[in-house]
Symmetry: C2
């Protein structure tokens, strides 16, 4: 094992620093119909106390008001109380995109909440990221996007070919086709060749509370003459790089990437044999950091 020589370059673990829990203060469980759906930070709890009777504070945590019996009732009640907080300036504006609130992937929705407030509740948020790459005899070359300078989240940062949150009421496959067309001008037939490749999941700080993200990863092998074209203004440019160069950039300048993109790329490199457990001293910690317990 050449741990000594590898230590001379910055560790890839540093590139995952933004997808680690910070553990700032005791969390409160948020339950809906006796099912635990969220982890609420002290700061987020202080905001939720202003949201009125829709949330009941008890010794065991925060409970959604029991009078709200259907998912639709809960969605409406939470939506109107959080919209009022936003109007008062206590919360950012809604994004008018609804995310499912569930105990686990595949479970029935207990309600929906605007994308802006998922982190406030510390609810699970699902998404998908697509590694677009060209296989070559020397190894994969990855397509990397640079986010437009006017984007709300992490403008100018490096990104995967395609990535997006998973709204309620859509399959991952359908969302992938939609995002691939909007973000990279990829036709449905090409996008349909993307292959599910597992997931990464992590807790991370969120401006309002706590991120608990589950990102389904997909691999999309592309022809050498394929060129992505952004159609929705979210990407400033796409460039293609040998994966070793991408890893080198990750080691030396992790902050050039959107916060969770290093995790998606490191996962790709683990799965494709780009990283070698005999020579990468942090191999095991990289692997476990990419898949944190969904507690």
């Amino acid at each position: 094992m050449t741990a000594e020589s590898s230590r001379r370059t910055p560790s890839l673990l540093a590139s995952l620093a933004r997808v680690r829990p910070t553990g700032d203060g005791p969390m409160l469980a948020l339950t809906v119909a006796d099912q635990r759906v969220g982890k609420v930070t002290p700061q987020a709890a202080a905001l939720l106390r202003k949201a009125g009777p829709v949330f009941a504070f008890g010794t065991a945590g925060i409970e959604m008001a029991r009078g709200l019996e259907t998912p639709e009732d809960r969605t409406d009640a939470v939506s109107s109380s959080l919209r009022r907080l936003a109007a008062d300036g206590d919360l950012p504006a809604p994004r008018y995109e609804r995310y499912p609130v569930v105990t686990r992937w595949g479970a029935d929705e207990l309600m929906r909440v605007d994308r802006s407030y998922v982190g406030l509740l510390g609810a699970l948020a699902f998404g998908l990221h697509v590694n677009g790459y060209v296989p070559t005899p020397a190894g994969p070359e990855m397509w990397i996007g640079r986010r437009a300078d006017d984007r709300l989240v992490e403008p100018g940062k490096l990104d995967n070919l395609v990535g997006g949150g998973q709204p309620a009421g859509l399959s991952l496959a359908a969302n992938l086709v939609k995002e691939a067309a909007e973000e990279a001008g990829i036709d449905a037939a090409t996008a349909g060749a993307a292959r599910p490749a597992g997931l990464i999941c992590y807790e991370a700080p969120h401006p309002l509370g706590l991120r608990r993200d589950v990102l389904f990863t997909f691999d999309l092998a592309l022809a050498p003459d394929f060129t992505p074209v952004n159609t929705d203004g979210e990407v400033a440019e796409f460039t293609r790089h040998p994966v070793a160069d991408v890893l080198d950039r990750l080691r030396r300048q992790p902050e050039a990437f959107k916060f969770n993109v290093p995790a998606v790329i490191v996962d790709f490199c683990l799965r494709h044999g780009v990283l070698d457990p005999d020579s990468e001293p942090d191999y095991a910690e990289l692997a476990t950091t990419l898949r944190q317990p969904l507690t």
Copy 2:
């Protein structure tokens, strides 16, 4: 999501039941030179109390005697006290294969211990498993071994093409070449084409204490006319199956497989897009079960 229809067949999660912690009683930390290397069950602690002054029992846990200053000193002292317990019938016989005792993969060895007693100490144990498969237009076909009926561990059970523990003083790449030759008659050039594909890690019950296994997984794409041939008597036969058939067997008869082999196969299926997050309701739990925290 077709959760309803998938629920009709047994869940793949059941096939991972043997790589989950059972949580039977409070664990004691085992430290060597102030570094935490093991998790000792109450049952294992009772055995270690008979091992003499090499282990000091305190309120914070179990500490290796401080007089033992070098890894070699510790290895010798532990070896002779555990050999004495084995002679008294309190422990199984040593296997005369030494495993490294470390805080993490890639860290300096604090001592070595016979393979038979890794679970007694609740130390990390490293290994490698190779998914041998033939890519076909209809998807991968996997080579599955059946363990010989006279094997010490899990005789007669279904296994991966190649798998083995990782002894001290050998690289994973070298161990893979050695095990591939012994277990499946694979020449070094063919074995060298195996590609690292990440790892699975889990806690699981162990007859003496606790397993804490880190298994590095490798994928080896094989030609359609390749046939594995066992050379060391450890495998009764090899057969090749479409991966869908292997998954079907995993769902319906998980106990036909060696305890950790379902995890290796499910990991392969997640990475290769054989399982689909839109149709597999336990997809996220499968993924997190395969990579448990190394605590």
